[in-house]
């Protein structure tokens, strides 16, 4: 995942999450509110219907009383009273018929509206009772009016029978008036109401009586049918729920599978109920709309967050991506790369640090390259010097296989950096051996060349007649002249008479050599006969003589031996060398050299070799007979 993806995602989440939560809450409370307002709407609709029903019943009751009062006028004749009553019936808003019963409940006469003939008075369109039951009369006596169960005529029209008490002017009971109030108007009313409140073609308002029969609905086919246990009245089997003035909300699923919600509001006076219901979808469409709006707003926010997040993420990560790319280029070897410092924040600081790092890196690399070049130059020079050095010293052994008077062996192990050791041996004449062991100060090509010059001069001046001090004096004067580099050479020079074993030698600033007698006796040739050569002109040199007996060994070396170091920086030391030579035995020159080298390497261990190590051994065997 790239950095700007993370930035963008973070911003996206930060922006969208609150919006999503808000939308969810809005939609949630919206659903509650919608349910609440739907309930209120349903109840209010039911109240309108109830108001209409109440008005109808009250109007009918009032008309029935007025009509009864006209019949009970004591001053007028019976004909006048009937005429007045008929006129009232004709003008009545709700009443269509009227039947009079005696106080005992026996039928007195039915009457019809004015205009009808006398004889037709006996025919009432609705079935009126033969006599009024005492229960009905009792209610009418107590309350002034009694309502009976809804009845149906031959055509199926519905009527509400009511019974009123007709008092005389003095308050005594005169008779009972009975009328079946047509309810057809109620269906028109609920139909109109349903349409007004819920839109055309809807039948969402209905009126049921105590027996749960539909007594008013826009759907004529439902009239008179019982709703007990079905639809909105699922679980309801009698009109008991209409006895209390308590509205109910209902939720149910129709046989067709449609979910509907609504309210049932009782009309306690009659034990009737108004049912208002409608499809759930329609109600919650509003909630859906809220949801849709929330989703739309949320989506817009999300889109904006995504765009802003992408822009901000790219903008934020751009310098870091730049740094990353620049670092990659540096890693690839492009040290010239720099990043722009645009801001003063952490990223800017990082860019600044990066640039100074690149700067330092450039310098360091430049220095490193320079150093490497210099080192390579020096190394090349050292290598050339070492090549000259090693090409100069005799390395084929045995060196004089035909000579049995002596045996000579030498080893030179050059150090990595420092060192100007050399050795040489040659016969100056048939019976005289010249041996040189030397150490040139300095290193590389100049030291090697100086070494070559020294060796050549020694060879040129060596003769059986010359003494070793004379040879070195001449070599010294020649070398010292014009030696601006101030190089110098420590030299041990010996001339050995192979017939007698007589040896003359000069030590010019060199390490003392040793003689190990055949007897095991050790002799340290410790006297110094002059300073190093090539340092100063006109320096006097001395010499000494020693006699070699058959079986004696002369051991010469350079300071690489006694100054060899181990890992603890301890020096090998001349004392250790002396003890070694005294303790060990060998049978030829090669063996003597090996004894010394083995011990030096064992001592040095893993430590670096600091200086050239040279060991030369000469074993004198004595003159050859004849």
């Amino acid at each position: 995942m790239k950095l700007w993806h993370k930035y963008a995602l973070a911003l996206f989440i930060a922006a969208v999450l609150p919006v999503a939560v808000a939308a969810w809450q809005i939609a949630g409370s919206g659903a509650t509110e919608v349910a609440e307002s739907a309930r209120e709407y349903h109840t209010a609709t039911a109240d309108v219907a109830l108001g209409a029903v109440r008005a109808l019943v009250e109007t009918a009751t009032a008309e029935a009383r007025t009509l009864g009062a006209a019949l009970a006028q004591p001053a007028a004749s019976m004909d006048d009273r009937l005429r007045a009553a008929r006129a009232l019936l004709t003008g009545a808003q709700r009443l269509e018929n009227y039947v009079v019963y005696s106080p005992e409940g026996e039928l007195v006469f039915p009457m019809k509206a004015a205009g009808a003939t006398e004889g037709e008075d006996t025919a009432v369109d609705v079935p009126s009772p033969e006599s009024l039951p005492e229960a009905v009369r009792k209610v009418a006596m107590d309350k002034g009016v009694a309502f009976s169960e809804v009845i149906t005529d031959a055509k199926g029209a519905l009527y509400l029978p009511l019974t009123v008490r007709i008092p005389k002017p003095d308050g005594e009971l005169y008779a009972f008036g009975w009328s079946a109030v047509p309810l057809a108007n109620l269906s028109a009313m609920v139909s109109e109401l349903s349409e007004r409140r819920f839109g055309s073609g809807s039948d969402f308002v209905s009126l049921v009586d105590r027996q749960l029969r539909v007594i008013a609905t826009a759907n004529a086919s439902m009239l008179g049918k019982s709703l007990a246990g079905t639809g909105p009245l699922s679980g309801v089997n009698d009109g008991g729920i209409f006895a209390k003035d308590l509205a109910h909300t209902v939720e149910f699923t129709t046989a067709a599978g449609e979910e509907r919600i609504g309210a049932i509001v009782p009309f306690v006076d009659l034990g009737w109920g108004v049912i208002v219901e409608q499809p759930r979808d329609v109600v919650y469409a509003a909630v859906g709309r809220v949801w849709s709006s929330a989703l739309l707003v949320g989506a817009l926010f999300a889109l904006a967050a995504l765009i802003l997040g992408t822009l901000a993420g790219r903008r934020l990560s751009a310098p870091i991506v730049g740094l990353s790319q620049a670092a990659g280029r540096i890693a690839g070897g492009d040290f010239e790369v720099r990043v722009p410092v645009k801001t003063k924040d952490e990223v800017g600081a990082l860019a600044g640090s990066f640039n100074s790092m690149a700067e330092q890196l450039t310098d360091t690399i430049a220095q490193l390259q320079e150093t490497t070049r210099a080192k390579e130059r020096m190394q090349t020079e050292l290598d050339i010097g070492r090549d000259i050095q090693m090409s100069m010293v005799p390395r084929d052994f045995p060196a004089f296989p035909e000579r049995r008077e002596f045996d000579i062996h030498a080893a030179l192990e050059p150090a990595y950096e420092v060192g100007g050791d050399f050795y040489d041996f040659f016969l100056v004449d048939d019976d005289t051996l010249c041996v040189v062991v030397a150490d040139v100060s300095g290193k590389g090509v100049p030291a090697a060349l100086f070494m070559a010059v020294t060796r050549t001069m020694v060879k040129a001046h060596a003769s059986a007649e010359a003494s070793t001090d004379e040879i070195l004096s001449e070599v010294n004067d020649e070398l010292a002249e014009g030696n601006d580099e101030c190089m110098f050479v420590t030299v041990f020079l010996a001339l050995v008479d192979l017939k007698t074993g007589a040896m003359r030698f000069t030590n010019a600033g060199h390490n003392p050599s040793y003689i190990k007698r055949k007897s095991g006796e050790m002799i340290r040739l410790d006297k110094l006969h002059g300073p190093v050569i090539a340092a100063m002109e006109d320096v006097p040199y001395g010499s000494a003589d020693v006699a070699l007996a058959p079986g004696d060994t002369l051991i010469m070396y350079t300071d690489g031996v006694n100054e060899a170091m181990n890992a603890n920086k301890d020096l090998y030391s001349e004392e250790r060398l002396a003890r070694l030579l005294e303790a060990k035995q060998w049978t030829d020159a090669n063996g003597a050299v090996k004894v010394v080298l083995d011990d030096v390497w064992a001592f040095q261990g893993d430590a670096d070799q600091a200086d050239d190590v040279t060991v030369v051994a000469l074993r004198y065997n004595g003159p050859v007979a004849g």
């Binding site: 420092v418 150490d439 101030c486 110098f488 002059g530 300073p531 190093v532 340092a535």
Partner: protein
Amino acid sequence: MQIETQEKGSALVVAISGSLDTKTAPAAETAIGAILDQGRNHLVVDFSEVDYIASSGLRVLLSTMKRLKKSKGKMFLCGMNPTVREVFDISGFSGIFKILDTQADALAAG
């Protein structure tokens, strides 16, 4: 390796400390060369703080002495510990340089 100088009368005391070996010799040569370039003609080189000297160190002294010889100058060495002194002895440089035990002796000799 460090080099400090101090005026003492007509002499300039050059006090060397540390090791005078292949690695430090070039720096010593440069430092002493600069002193000679100033026309100093009378040097007392104090070895009290020198713990080791190699042949490359000897070469620096030799070259210094040769330059002083040309300008009729003089150089005294002093304060060597036994190890350092041994190097001078073994190489025979003891016979070439004027070596004294103490700085006071060296200043008095000049």
